[in-house]
Subunit: 328 residues, 2 copies
């Protein structure tokens, strides 16, 4: 028998950095998540403490899992945008103001020797779903995450859209209703104020103030302060009419946002994920209705609007994918 | 003296096909318009008659100006979208319904032997301004034409955005106000119903019905039927308060549309052209005001909003540019 070469296996690390949870995963170059770690974090500690904790946990993960440093192709991290991609700088995240101005690129490259790719968290979600999820094989597609805020990513000819400085794809901050409520970004009536968890909560509070849908409160211990989009979803599932109406309304606004994406990007698919998307059955009807009623026939004809497939892994996967593309 | 090779000069033809005027130009590969021809057309004759007339005039132009067929690199034609780029098919233009379903690619390749590039007219405008106009040198920019309708084009990393089928960039059909007036596309409150010539005329008619701004009619021979965005512009120039307010209002809505483009594409520049843009001084103030007030700081920080520079030539130039890119 002749000489047999040892092939060393190589991996990626993907990090999904949220305001309350940070998820890390070891990912193969084929998009398989081999191992995951997760810890809770507290955004009120400020950007520096947050990222010091991240580096410490990341180093542990590397020490425990990689015998040789060249086994690690690279590390990708998805974090709240907008991000100045050239400078690796977090700009002014409407939902994570504590991170404002944090020089993430410089900070990480000082502490970590492996190559690092920084990506907007919603872009990471979108890339993950395109790599090994609901948009696999698509060249032109959009991703939307419905969470505390509304994030999004746009893929054009197989590449995530970054724009001039890297802040493109702020889907949650399209103006949907110019006379609508104020948004964290400084605008008014953005998609985010209707289709996010925060927006759903606001709509429920407004309904309760008007004396409607008090039954919704049953699912948050009768306390309006404890009410979340999840407790409102539970109310809808139990048949509460006002809760159902809220998700219908949210779906109508989300549909208007999708029309803009359809007319501007002519995507093959729009993938919707994030924790609020669990209420899919309660909003997708009114999404489809308004899209069919109001979008131009040509651009929408072959479009598919689908649910994300990779759940909480999408962010890890997309971050790892960014690191893989960077290494190529 | 040794042998000296004859270098044959080569040119492009760019065609800007509108509903009332068709403009043709002979263009150098460096973007200089050498010769122009223009004729009036009548869209009511239907797509076939329109394009037969086009072919006849085009053949005349070629016969009169090109001695050898290989002097002509290619022909580019900008026409009302949306266009199915793969099939070369005009889909359902909201402002030129007569062209609906016309198989332009097949029709032209049967009659003309030179290579032909078909492009959406607003994309052609955008490409022309990027080639040798207001967005020269930009990699990421958006173009908007304010005419009978509102058209647009998006350039991402130096390429015009076509999307899955070729219908991307329908900037005029972003929803700006979901409770707004019906739009020709089937939607409601699209940018087009506010920022187009048709939209401005509608706003003026509404004002007059309410008993305001009758002075506007002075510029259209006292006949509301004869009123156009141009006569309303003249009224504004002469100091008519209602006409000025209409352009202010139009600028506010246009600004909301720009915010969406800024948040989605993070462009370096937005170039605004088209005949309605002649009223620039009467709407740009309110555009800038709302953009500064409501757009996210990061994406808008280094953005420039500028006036188109190539006037009626932009469409010819962009169509020629498409033909040039096709030939490369």
């Amino acid at each position: 028998m002749g000489c047999r070469r040892m092939v060393m296996e190589q991996f990626l690390i993907g990090i999904d950095m949220g305001g309350t949870n940070v998820r890390m995963g070891i990912v193969t170059p084929e998009g398989k998540v081999l191992k995951k770690a997760q810890y809770r974090t507290d955004v009120s500690k400020g950007g520096l403490a947050l990222f010091e904790q991240l580096v410490s946990n990341l180093k542990d993960l590397i020490r425990e899992n990689f015998r040789e440093s060249n086994q690690l192709i690279g590390i990708g991290i998805g974090v709240a945008g907008p991000i100045d991609m050239k400078k690796g700088l977090i700009m002014e995240p409407p939902n994570l103001p504590a991170l404002k101005g944090f020089p993430l690129g410089d900070f990480l490259s000082e502490k970590i020797s492996s190559p690092i790719a920084i990506e907007n968290d919603a872009n990471a979600f979108t890339l993950g779903e395109g790599w090994v999820g609901a948009a696999k094989g698509c060249k032109h597609y959009c991703g939307i995450t419905l969470g505390t805020g509304v994030g999004g990513g746009i893929v054009v000819a197989g590449k995530i859209l970054h724009g001039a400085r890297g802040t493109a794809g702020e889907v949650g901050h399209m103006v949907i209703n110019p006379k609508g409520p104020l948004c964290g970004c400084g605008g008014r009536g953005c998609l985010e104020v209707y289709a996010s968890g925060t927006g759903i909560r606001r709509m429920a509070l407004e309904a309760i103030e008007k004396g409607k849908g008090k039954g919704i409160l049953k699912w948050s211990g009768r306390d309006p302060q404890q009410m979340t989009s999840e407790s409102i979803f539970k109310a809808a599932q139990s048949g509460n009419v006002t809760a159902k109406k809220i998700f219908n309304e949210m779906g109508r606004y989300l549909g208007l946002g999708l029309i803009n994406l359809i007319h501007l990007f002519n995507p093959e698919k729009i993938v919707i994920g994030g924790k609020v998307s669990r209420a899919w059955d309660y909003f997708i009807g009114s999404v489809m209705e308004i899209v069919q009623e109001r979008s131009m026939k040509g651009p929408s004809e072959k479009l598919q609007i689908v649910k994300a497939e990779r759940g909480d892994d999408a962010g890890i996967l997309g971050a790892a994918y960014s690191a893989l593309k960077r290494a190529e």
